[in-house]
Symmetry: C2
Subunit: 344 residues, 2 copies
């Protein structure tokens, strides 16, 4: 059945013109049949359908789009398509897009502002109707001409930089504050914080929540109890080991995100003394570890759904000022965050 031949390649696909010629009708009649518009005799319609089947015609939506204006597609720039945290967000955006008859173009910024920009503008050049961006950079003025030209844009998970726009976030500050307060409530006074790089908004918000909880409890924060930086395992491991040793080791750790938590679990498992742990972000199997890992959970799917719904509201013509939506987090108690402070 492999009827592929080099000369019958892209470019000589049958067009409506070909169908019209074969069916012996006008171009517009073919268009009517293809689009299910009324006003075509059953007999004419059949002739056109036959020609379509015989030729293997499929409407070129790119051409259609050029004429119609709307592309029925949206672009999603996320950090990493392979990151399990963003996967449900990705899927949620897809589902909303699908419900609105739109296709999804997506790509990974790899936490590189230039790559984020490149992707977002490539999507704009394809004239996506809307754009959802998980910011890597902190200056999004480059999107202002696009937004002004009508490409609806929503930022998610992190705020937009230097521009007014819709934003959907989790309450990083409140979540971290509550998580740290939980450790304090279980008797800890020396609590460490390991988070992502300081230029990432969620990292500094969570750190702010940590400091707020410590302050509220009247606890000091020693300099070496806080470490922000890349979430590569080596870096996190070194930071954790430093906090767990020395004259005044921490008895508990707050992990600023998923990747930090996972490495923290490994380091704690190998540590001389037990260390209590609360992590930001839930992850699969957190309940199966021993002890189960207590986490501050965000709802990534809801983040995606909310952002996409906001986007389509704009596409449906709702005009209102940019809004900032903050979704609550949830503390899930599983054991690691309820360990008492170890004797030092």
């Amino acid at each position: 059945m492999a009827q592929t031949s080099p000369q019958y390649r892209y470019g000589n696909r049958p067009t409506m013109k070909d169908v019209a010629a074969r069916a012996g009708v006008g171009l517009k009649t073919v268009s009517r049949v293809v689009n299910g518009e009324p006003g075509v005799t059953p007999d004419t319609e059949r002739r056109v359908q036959d020609a379509i089947t015989a030729l293997g015609f499929r409407r070129n939506d790119s051409a259609r789009i050029l004429r119609k204006g709307r592309t029925a597609s949206i672009g999603l720039v996320l950090e990493d398509l392979a990151d399990p945290f963003y996967a449900p967000l990705n899927r949620a955006v897809e589902e909303v897009a699908r419900a609105h008859g739109a296709l999804l173009i997506n790509g990974s910024s790899a936490e590189d502002p230039d790559r984020e920009r490149e992707l977002a503008l490539a999507f704009c050049a394809r004239r996506v109707d809307g754009l959802i961006v998980i910011p890597a950079g902190d200056d999004h003025r480059y999107l202002e001409p696009e937004i002004a030209a009508g490409i609806a844009t929503v930022f998610v998970d992190r705020p937009a930089g230097r521009t007014a726009a819709d934003v959907v976030l989790s309450d990083s500050f409140g979540g971290a504050r509550d998580g740290v307060a939980h450790l304090v409530a279980h008797g800890h006074r020396r609590i460490g914080f390991i988070g992502d790089q300081p230029h990432i908004h969620t990292a500094t918000e969570r750190l702010r929540g940590y400091r707020a909880a410590m302050r509220a409890a009247g606890l000091p924060v020693e300099e070496n109890w806080v470490s922000l930086g890349p979430t590569a395992p080596e870096r996190v491991r070194a930071a954790a080991e430093a906090m767990f040793s020395g004259p005044r080791p921490v008895t508990a750790l707050f992990a600023g995100n998923n990747r930090v938590t996972v490495t923290a679990v490994r380091v704690i498992a190998a540590a001389a003394r037990p260390v209590a742990l609360v992590g930001f972000d839930d992850f699969e199997l957190a309940d199966l570890l021993s002890p189960g890992v207590t986490v501050v959970a965000q709802d990534a799917a809801r983040l995606g759904r909310t952002a996409a719904e906001r986007l389509f509201r704009r596409l449906d013509g709702v005009v209102e000022a940019p809004r900032r939506v903050e979704l609550p987090t949830r503390l899930i108690v599983r054991g690691s965050g309820e360990l008492p402070p170890a004797e030092s």
Copy 2:
């Protein structure tokens, strides 16, 4: 800075014509500048650039594509954008596409053949240059006209149905056989198998591998030791509990995929007797559970990379017969698969 006004929306974006008018040059000159073609005076070029900036012009790639033929985009139909197993595959495909200057459109079939078809054909209507499909259905003849018309197509993770096409797979049969043989080598004689639904190719291949290993060891397979079906936790739980009880309970279990493994771990943790476990597919934190979970690992990223590279080879004009590539799996020993049979 929110200069968005309802009348200045999509449709009245500046075009090359507008730029040409403002710069006082011809259309083609603008095209030359935008595309970096030679033969433009520095002075003319500057005038055009100024007009572009002033107007906020961005080339409409949809129009460009219509004229040029190639869209520089590929479509990926996978099962679920939120599935952690496919996330690295997704990312790997993206990276290869990016290296070739192509954008990625993707979507989830949700294991529904109709939805797979709908997505794949929608991508074809957008005239993607190529298509990568993780099949949900088992009849892909619907793609033959598209393939014949020049849309390069590669199937990955599962074979195409009823049509000749490029396919990239993991060695499900061999992997399962080796995993079960590993359990046999550790003294097990009563081994259960829980897998995905029987219409899914990888599920039956893995079952075939299980049977082959049992046969090679001269071991019988009792009827209730095998269970194929949806991987929903309730179903897997019921199947596992049935195998773990009764007069001749299994002492070991082979889990046909990720989702089955995770549920199996939970059921085993709560079981009266220890049950050895080997799972198909690796997963994060498998080594942190106690015991660590021994798995047959596939390289999902390599699966995606291989498929995408094959696709772009075709797009680069290489003409050859459809090929089936089978990637090896790797047994990762972590503890759960080395438990001895429990006394019954």
